[in-house]
Amino acid sequence: MTKFQVNGRDYDLDIDPDTPLLWVLRDELRLTGTKFGCGVAQCGACTVMLDGVPRRSCVTPISAVEGSEVTTIEGMEGPEITAVQAAWNEIDVPQCGWCQSGQIMSATALLQQVPSPTDDDINNAMAGNICRCATYVRIRQAIHAAAKTLEG
């Protein structure tokens, strides 16, 4: 049995300990906002928060989250995610949208740690999130816009 919390709710699942967290989120808990992209931690589409910091769920066995708190895109709250969502809407960032929940998770984590990021900060934090539609320019613009909103 693996005990952990997802979006504030307790779970106690009898599941193969090697099962990736991503599989559990999508197939068992039906939280499909977190996407499968590559399965090998190269694209960032599966990013969730594990105890408050970003984590690629495709390479995280469920046994590794015992006692931890997982937050998916569906459960994100707080000023940073609110600012990021508003900026994403305002700038119309997504094209196909597949990678965007991962992009938003990483962008939010960056703003939680660096409230006014430079272009370099953004490049470094977002380098692991690939967008096949190449929306990178709008992603960067939206992160700067969200940072400005957070400044007040």
Partner: protein
Amino acid sequence: MKHLTVMLVAGLIAASPVLAQDGLNGPDAFANITDQTERSAALFQEMGKVLTHPRCLNCHTVTGGPTQGDDMHAHEPPVVRGDADFGAPGMNCNTCHGTTNVGFSTEKGSIPGHDSWMLAPVSMGWQGVSLGEICAQIKDPARNGDRTLEDLYEHHAHDGLVGWGWDPGEGRKPAPGSQEIFGQLTRAWIDTGAACPG
């Protein structure tokens, strides 16, 4: 013919040095070097087979972020060192690397992991550095994390992250020999005066 081949192979195996294990000799292989300082330097030279192996060097870079693979190419995705040798805010080592190696679910291979997965500090950078310079650096408490020679022995012989070099997960070649032999070499190197190769 088949029997002859088997006998030849068996003969070749029997003729190989008994102390060598996957290319790493134990301290006994250097017992015939009578000059103690020369023997010590030779022991470090042998330790160098581990120290300069890609499993170690990939995270002992002299600047910037880690490299990966046996050809030590740039890490993918691009990763910077960061202030704490742990990546950038928003994407640090633990964003992908956990506390154990994890096999991929959809293809062959694995993502490496261990407790305290992070880059060695710049002061312990080894890529492109001569073995003599690595030796001087590894003995210098100002650059080796304030370790005594005994601390170094413990680190080489028993540290789990060092030991990962011999258990690197599917898709990666382990460092030569074993941590046990590496520890024995370190012990013998220290006991003979911890001399550095020229």
